[in-house]
Symmetry: C2
Subunit: 209 residues, 2 copies
């Protein structure tokens, strides 16, 4: 079973995804863990060899959300962003082969689109809750939190739309979209778990769609 | 309690909305019933008096999904589309005042946006299920069903985006979006009912947002 969780910045989506992973005994992969997996799997050896500032650069690359990099040096190393997307996609596929996973973002729903044991979820939240969550996390001012929301959503949408050909955050790209402000984080986790249990009864790996 | 249900053409959203109304003892308003309510309430008397072909014209107007009418005669009667939107909005508000309601489409979520006892839901479905449903309903060919989906979604989006300033079908415009193909119509009704029950415990009319 694969659960993919897309989310608005500050929606609590990452927390919800982690709780779902715990609930269903799935491995949990967010951006950082996928980077590590990609690195450990050896997919990026070539990349690391070619790059003097590999560690920082690698880090910066996987924090990228937009199709075009501001760092010109990137293109001088003979690796396109498409290659990097491929590295990460390989890490996602490899992780998915090892068993049940929850992926947060990273277009995993697109990378694994041929699988029929997958649930795609998107988490939103009311703007005031998003602002509050971002401020608690980073200690920034309200105006700065608004800026981060606007920039974060825009970057996630660009990245997702570019690679998947689907629309980030649009209901038709997902099986279930929930505003976490309505029930709160705990009850939203329970509610989504109910969907997954109904959609994928234990041991049922027959085609759903 | 107010439940608003937006839906892709052929998603089963209207059926789901009707079942939710039955389940929660709400009055059910789709386009036809809202037209009737608008007419009966007397809001449109002026409109009917001004128009020779009032009945057919009235019908055509409320089937409109796009901001601009192809029927030029419309503008010659001294009533703008904004007035018509207002007639319909008044009917929605009046219906909502009488008690618990389920509204299908018609931007009711926007019209009633100041209420705090409202749940906004959007229903999608896999394309093959939508095609099948449209063909069963109208007996049309597959190519024609594809055309209707494309046209229907586009018109609904234009209408909704124009009047509400929100994005039709985008998760951030709703509290809950569900793909009815995953669980099927019956289980989707049950699942959505669970959300409504958790979000609005009986008798709880306190502010949610």
């Amino acid at each position: 079973m694969i659960i993919n969780v897309g989310r608005q910045l500050g929606s609590g989506g990452r927390t919800i995804a982690a709780r779902l992973a715990e609930r269903f005994g799935c491995r949990f992969y967010d951006r950082e863990l996928l980077n590590l997996a990609a690195k450990e799997s050896g997919f990026c050896e070539e990349f690391f060899e070619r790059n003097d500032e590999s560690k920082n650069f690698f880090k910066s690359v996987f924090h990228l959300h937009v199709p075009h990099m501001s760092d010109g040096s990137f293109y001088n190393n003979g690796l396109s962003q498409e290659s990097l997307f491929k590295f990460q996609s390989d890490a996602i596929r490899k992780a998915a082969e090892t068993g049940a996973c929850v992926f947060v973002g990273r277009c995993a729903d697109y990378v694994l689109r041929d699988r029929d044991d997958m649930i795609n979820i998107f988490i939103t939240a009311n703007e005031d809750d998003r602002i509050k969550r971002i401020r608690e996390r980073s200690g920034c001012e309200e105006a700065e939190a608004h800026k981060r929301i606007s920039k974060g959503d825009s970057e996630r949408a660009s990245y997702y739309n570019y690679y998947t050909g689907k629309k980030w955050g649009h209901s038709e790209s997902y099986d279930l979209c929930v505003n976490s402000s309505i029930l709160g984080i705990d009850a939203t986790v329970d509610y989504i778990a109910g969907f997954i249990e109904r959609a994928m009864p234990a041991g049922d790996n027959t085609e759903r769609k």
